[in-house]
């Protein structure tokens, strides 16, 4: 068989209509003609149809490749922008950049000072810190106690100042009543009292003068001590006064 023409079907027709033949798009009469042409063992068409038919079968059986693992994320990055996970590390540590700013340093310093003041006012012991001292109830209780103590010390200081002032006032009055100098109170010749004194006044003796001066000095010393102790929050002011004991 030459293969040029078999039963009104040419080899050119085979080549042109082969796609329709393999896809089942030929009319029944055309298909029958082509089948008859192939049945004649056309040397040109039979190998062609066989090879193309096998090729199409192989193409249909070829499996799709799997998607590369990172392709979807690359596409999303390219279209929607970088994902959150990409910027997660800089985003998480981004707030650290503000630490270097002066505003943050001032704020941190103020906060620390406030915290120290509150802790000190609440009676927190820095030398022997306890976790229980940091409880809100303990802090409130200690702060209340410290406030009351401060108020009591202030009230007592004012009261003590008033007492001292009254004592000083009274002593000044007493001093005004006493002679102010030895020349006026002590005669020039002690063994011999001044004869011819006619005003009837009773001159003060040196012992009386010394005693008044000593009392005045003690009162001033006491006032100074009271003031300093009250200011420093020491022991009761008049605990040992009058019994001869010195204040510690």
């Amino acid at each position: 068989m030459s293969g040029e023409q078999t039963m009104n079907w040419t080899c050119e027709q085979t080549e042109v209509r082969l796609g329709d033949y393999l896809d089942g798009l030929l009319q029944p009469s055309e298909r029958a003609a082509l089948d008859a042409h192939l049945a004649q063992h056309c040397e040109r068409c039979a190998p062609l149809v066989d090879s193309v038919a096998q090729l199409v079968g192989n193409l249909h059986s070829m499996e799709e490749l799997e998607t590369p693992p990172r392709l979807v994320y690359a596409i999303l990055d390219k279209t929607l922008g970088p994902r959150d996970t990409v910027v997660a590390a800089p985003g998480f540590f981004g707030w650290l950049r503000g630490i270097g700013m002066p505003r943050f340093a001032y704020g941190a310093l103020s906060l620390s000072a406030t915290f120290l003041m509150i802790a000190s006012a609440s009676g927190f012991s820095w030398r022997h810190p306890k976790l229980a001292d940091l409880q809100p109830a303990t802090i409130a209780r200690n702060a209340d106690r410290q406030a009351h103590l401060a108020f009591a010390r202030s009230a007592k200081f004012v009261s003590d100042l008033r007492v001292v002032y009254e004592i000083q006032t009274r002593l000044r009055q007493d001093n005004n009543e006493l002679p102010t100098s030895n020349e006026e109170t002590v005669p020039a010749t002690a063994p011999n009292p001044a004869p011819g004194r006619t005003d009837g006044s009773k001159p003060g003796s040196p012992n009386q003068q010394n005693r008044a001066t000593t009392i005045d000095r003690n009162i001033q010393l006491l006032a100074t001590t009271i003031a300093s102790r009250a200011y420093l929050g020491g022991a009761p002011l008049f605990a040992g006064w009058g019994s001869g004991r010195k204040n510690p």
């Binding site: 080549e15 042109v16 209509r17 082969l18 796609g19 329709d20 393999l22 798009l25 062609l48 090879s51 193309v52 096998q54 090729l55 199409v56 079968g57 192989n58 193409l59 249909h60 070829m62 499996e63 799709e64 490749l65 799997e66 998607t67 590369p68 392709l71 979807v72 690359a74 596409i75 999303l76 390219k78 279209t79 929607l80």
Partner: protein, 189 residues
Amino acid sequence: MEQDAQLVQQCLQGDGSAWEELVRRHTRRIFNICYRFTGNRTEAEDLSQEVFLRVYRTLASYRSAHGGFATWMTSVTRNLLIDHYRRTRRDRLTDSLDDAMPVVENKQSSARRPDELALLGELSSQIQAGLTKLSPELREAVILRDLQQLEYGEIQQVLSVPEGTVKSRINRGRIELARILQQMGVRPS
């Protein structure tokens, strides 16, 4: 199809998750078209990204009345592949001189990555090599019909040519590929 159109509408309203879903649904198909056309895995990945980027930018121009989203996306892919083919024509001219020498052909085959060979299989690898020797018009027709298994009407939409031209290209592409494989000494199973 309807789900794709719905996802597109959500994308146009600014829903990023809808776009992500669209990407996941179509990435594999687009990557395969690109790979079958170029025969190079890296190029296929780059081209797939470009396809989705172009689709993302022109999503508002998609009209569901004119066809399915998959067909529209395949059309975008085809246009980009043809652009890529024209851009790289000079490189291929150099390659075609090398291809004339059988030693170089063997070298090219052995230069394929082992995972690709394992993945495709020997025959698939040879068919893929034959595909890249087809002209782009015939190649795209064979890929769309026999690998993506699109209907003639869909291929007509993608290629924007009459149905007769589609049938002719598919037929000539198959015959040409069979001859190329025969020249390569490949025996179809």
